[in-house]
């Protein structure tokens, strides 16, 4: 019986030693990981693939700890005020061995079909978006760590307040003058074309015009667009439809009634 007691005593001591040593070495290993050169980021690049904007953020992780880091996954989800996913990004790294360095990139996909379809208002209205960032990983295949944060970030619409604020008819030239304005609140330079289609009150197209548009971030765009009209179909009133199209996305139409008698 004494031998059994002794054996159990040693076994439990061994387990206690291992149990105490594991968190201590985890702590020391993590401390090494909090050194400055452990994680670094490169310059973000943007590409267009299958009607999706892919923002790629390269980064590296230098595992200076004593243990392998495995199942690293980083997820970023940008949600609109209704809680609908607007932008999603996901990165998974299976493992980083102790003492080794891994280069990877976090890819964020922006589905333009979805953005121009269900969330078209994001092109025209500034709003607040919720950014959910989740990072999870495993130390030594034992200790799981997950970080989750929820941030509110402002969204600047590229065509903020796109408005046809005035429509006049120039009888001398037979052109309809459309006054258009918007403000580029996005951080990107807007480079595309505005298409204006004029309809009479019988819903027939009586004029169509394209206007090249370039607006740097923060720029207030103001323009008068003269549109030649098919005078044979001209009526006293009608409506215009306004579209915006660029390589990256298209938005519209914005509808506005017009009348020769203001």
């Amino acid at each position: 019986m004494k031998q059994v007691i002794r054996a159990l005593g040693w076994l439990s001591k061994l387990i206690w030693i291992v149990t105490i040593l594991l968190p201590v070495t985890f702590g020391l290993s993590m401390e090494r990981l909090f050194q400055p050169d452990t994680i670094g980021f490169g310059e973000a690049t943007t590409s267009f693939v299958n009607n999706e904007i892919r923002i790629s953020l390269p980064f590296y992780i230098n595992n200076t700890g004593y243990y392998d880091i495995s199942n690293i996954s980083l997820t970023t989800v940008l949600k609109n005020s209704d809680g609908k996913n607007a932008i999603e990004g996901f990165t998974f790294i299976p493992a980083i061995r102790a003492g080794s360095k891994v280069n990877a990139s976090h890819k964020i996909d922006v589905d333009l079909d979805e953005l121009t379809g269900e969330m078209e208002y994001l092109f025209f209205n500034d709003t607040m978006l919720n950014l959910n960032v989740s990072l999870s990983l495993e130390f030594a295949y034992i200790l799981g760590v997950s970080l989750h944060t929820n941030l509110t970030i402002p969204w600047g619409a590229p065509l903020h307040n796109l408005t046809i604020y005035r429509i006049t008819f120039d009888q001398s030239t037979g052109k309809l003058i459309i006054h258009v304005t918007f403000e580029n609140h996005s951080p990107l330079t807007l480079d595309g074309k505005l298409q204006i289609t004029v309809y009479n009150n019988a819903n027939e197209v009586i004029g169509n015009q394209y206007l090249p548009v370039e607006a740097v971030p923060g720029e207030l765009f103001l323009s008068e667009i003269p549109i030649p009209i098919d005078l044979s179909k001209l009526t006293n009133n009608g409506h215009v439809l306004l579209f915006f199209g660029s390589k990256e996305f298209s938005a519209g139409p914005i509808k506005r009634e017009w009348s020769l008698y203001e």
């Binding site: 019986m1 004494k2 059994v4 159990l8 034992i142 799981g144 760590v145």
Partner: protein, 153 residues
């Protein structure tokens, strides 16, 4: 008759008082150890996980009480009962205090303005803690049986 009773009391006190003093001294030593550990943990851990301070207090006092009882009951079967009780408490404590090995803390102390939540999953370590306590408990039970056998022979 009174003289016999006084003699019994005296001999009982003579036996018990040194034991109590020894136990108190032992508890003081352990207490100092826990105090040092607490002040070390207060440097970084309690800010990060404030609930741990309360849990640490419960752990410290329970261990001290058990240490006192074990020391006082040295040489009796009660010593083993208290040791088994202590191991049983540790098993329940480790499971409860660690929430079964999944802890979520809000780390806004470090990242102001951001609602950062950190979840730690360390179930294998909790399994080891429980296993260690369980083995200690089994050992205590066998020791208790051994004690009974030896004292009855």
């Amino acid at each position: 008759m009174n003289e016999v009773a006084t003699m019994d009391w005296k001999s009982l006190l003579r036996r018990i008082v040194p034991r109590i003093l020894k136990a108190v001294l032992w508890c003081l030593l352990i207490g100092v150890g826990f105090l040092l550990l607490e002040s070390f943990l207060a440097l970084f851990f309690f800010d990060f996980y404030p609930e741990a301070q309360k849990l640490f207090g419960i752990f410290t006092w329970t261990i001290l009480v058990f240490a006192f009882l074990v020391k006082v009951s040295e040489g009796t079967i009660y010593k083993y009962m208290f040791m088994i009780g202590r191991s049983f408490f540790l098993i329940l404590y480790f499971i409860y205090a660690t929430n079964g090995g999944v802890l979520t803390v809000r780390a806004s102390e470090f990242f102001e303005g951001a609602g950062l939540y950190i979840t730690l999953q360390f179930a294998p370590i909790v399994v080891l803690l429980v296993l260690g306590s369980l083995l200690t408990m089994i050992k205590d039970i066998i020791q208790a049986i051994n004690f009974l056998t030896e004292t009855q022979v």
